[in-house]
Amino acid sequence: MGTGRNRMIIAVASGKGGTGKTTVAANLARVRGDVTLLDCDVEEPNVHLFISGEPQGEPEVVSLLVPEVDESRCDGCAACSNFCAFKALAVLDKRVLVFAEMCHGCGGCARVCPQGAIREVPKRVGVVETMGAGGVTVVQGRLDVGVAMAPPLVRAVKAHIPKTGDAILDAPPGTSCPVVATLRETDFVVLVTEPTPFGLNDLKLAVEVVRELGLPFGVVVNRADSSDDRVTTYCREASIPILAEIPDDRRVAEAYSRGELMVDALPEYRPLFEQLYTDIVRLLQNPLIAGVARASCPCFMGGTPMPRGALQGPHC
């Protein structure tokens, strides 16, 4: 990508929910104004509770291709169920049962069936909704209840990242597949944590993920107070930049509990988020960092990506 970037994709993530990830993403979007805010926490999308807006168009239905068996052709050979790595197919009394909620949509069963009896049909997994809220466009994915297959929906949300203009992604909490699906191909990751032992433990897990993905990143400490410097010490020792510290302010918690954005309820916090945005841009313009994010990086092809953090130099 280099320095001539005409858009920037920032993901906000954390090793665990409840650290203030959505708060950071939504407030950052609000101070930035002209930006697309994508809620990739498709299991429990929460962004709309803080920034609501007018729906733009009909929700887009997202589906996954799952097998459908033509019983007139199927002879019950079980080639499909033997193939399926996710136990989404079973053959009982020469009849194929499809457990669509287990299916990853790999298409393998249709390919291995010697009778050509399997056809792939779309199965709904959730919706993507778009809302306009002032200058901010909010895009959120919502997984249907009882559906476990988040990554396809995350990819559908990410398909709404604009070609030009900045995007902010609110990632799902944790370190599993949907998080990775969110973080891939972003330019910068903001990891939100708390200055507590739990917060530090969860931060370390999140750092492992972004390092494995080879993405530049920095940390925002939420509910910061002066009584515990373990997170700061860890960041310093691991050369991770601390981008901002949001003080432990009961008024912030109260505003949050009412679903109000911090920068709206407590305007004195606006400069903090404006500065955060500026700092991320500045970090990304640093040539040592700018080139790291992209898939063109040959290190990523070796099977075991090299660990590297935001402040490490050119590595390739």
Partner: protein, 296 residues
């Protein structure tokens, strides 16, 4: 014997509501009577308070991953076309030959490339997805686990942890299992609550807490498990607390109590202690919840 074992799972809807702190206090209150299970395998924290001494450790393997043997790969690109997860990339080497490689993070382990590679160049080894541990703590035996980064199938690891915890409870004749559940409402949560005797939902009086509570309670109802709700930091927003309690009752859950906003929760964490082990104002609230759930 096993029918008599009672399993209580503490969950939260969204994370960060104080679920693990409450679990740790329960572990202390049940010391000597319970096996502890940490099913929050994605971001386990209970060990930070209970400081377990590990006795045994085992690999957790689940599924497979594709690995292309580069000497057998002809660079035909069939796998790249077939893989629906964009997990394979081909690169031209300096010697002019094209070779394909699998990105282990993106590979979902479906096996399509393995089956359809014309040169049979793709291996499909088992995937190491984490590990689980059996330990001793000051409150009793503990089973916990760690999922590898970006691994899938935490539901299966959760099931493994619960199964082991039950085995230990049977072996030692302990009547209780106290389980720290995963956040959310997805597959790992389902794996952690199905077949449990009681769930406690720890929530906060926030719009998102309210939003998530309904989904979690639906889940509990679906699995016909008696559900209890307690509101942590209730005094941050008393009206919202009222509202959440009403919703909880309407959905057939029992309100087990309110826990006040208390900075000592963090000091307890720093001291590797449960809230009920230090002189914290909210300790009394947590004890009341424990009593409400009928554990005394």
């Amino acid at each position: 014997m096993s029918a008599a074992i009672q399993e209580c799972v503490i969950i939260s809807g969204k994370g960060g509501t104080g679920k693990t702190s409450v679990t740790a206090s329960f572990a202390v209150l049940a010391a000597g009577r319970a096996v502890l299970a940490d099913c929050d395998v994605d971001a386990a924290d209970l060990h930070l308070v209970l400081t377990p001494k590990m006795i045994t450790k085992a690999d957790f393997k689940s599924g497979n991953e594709a690995v292309i043997r580069s000497e057998a790969c002809t660079g035909c690109g069939t796998c790249v076309e077939l893989c629906r997860f964009e997990a394979i990339r081909c690169v031209r080497r300096p010697d002019g030959k094209t070779r394909c490689e699998v990105d282990p993070i993106a590979c979902e382990g479906c096996g399509v490339c393995v089956r359809f590679c014309p040169g049979k160049a793709v291996d499909f080894p088992e995937r190491l997805c984490g590990e689980w541990m059996f330990s001793e703590t000051r409150c009793g035996p503990m089973v916990h686990a760690r999922l590898s980064t970006a691994a899938e199938n935490s539901g299966k690891l959760v099931a493994t942890v619960r199964q082991e915890a039950r085995r230990v409870a049977e072996e030692r004749g302990l009547p209780l299992i106290i389980t720290d559940g995963p956040p959310g409402i997805g597959c790992p949560v389902i794996a952690s609550v199905s077949g449990a005797d009681r769930v406690l939902v720890v929530t906060e009086p926030t719009v998102s807490g309210e939003h998530d509570l309904e989904r979690v309670l639906k889940l509990a109802r679906h699995f016909v498990i008696p559900a209890f709700v307690c509101i942590n930091k209730w005094d941050i927003n008393p009206e919202m607390t009222e509202r959440i309690e009403q919703t909880a009752r309407k959905m057939g859950a029992t309100v087990a109590g309110r826990i006040r906003y208390d900075r000592a929760v963090t000091s307890a964490q720093r001291a590797e202690q449960a809230v009920v082990e230090i002189d914290a104002p909210s300790a009394e609230d947590v004890r009341a919840v424990w009593r409400q759930m009928g554990f005394e």
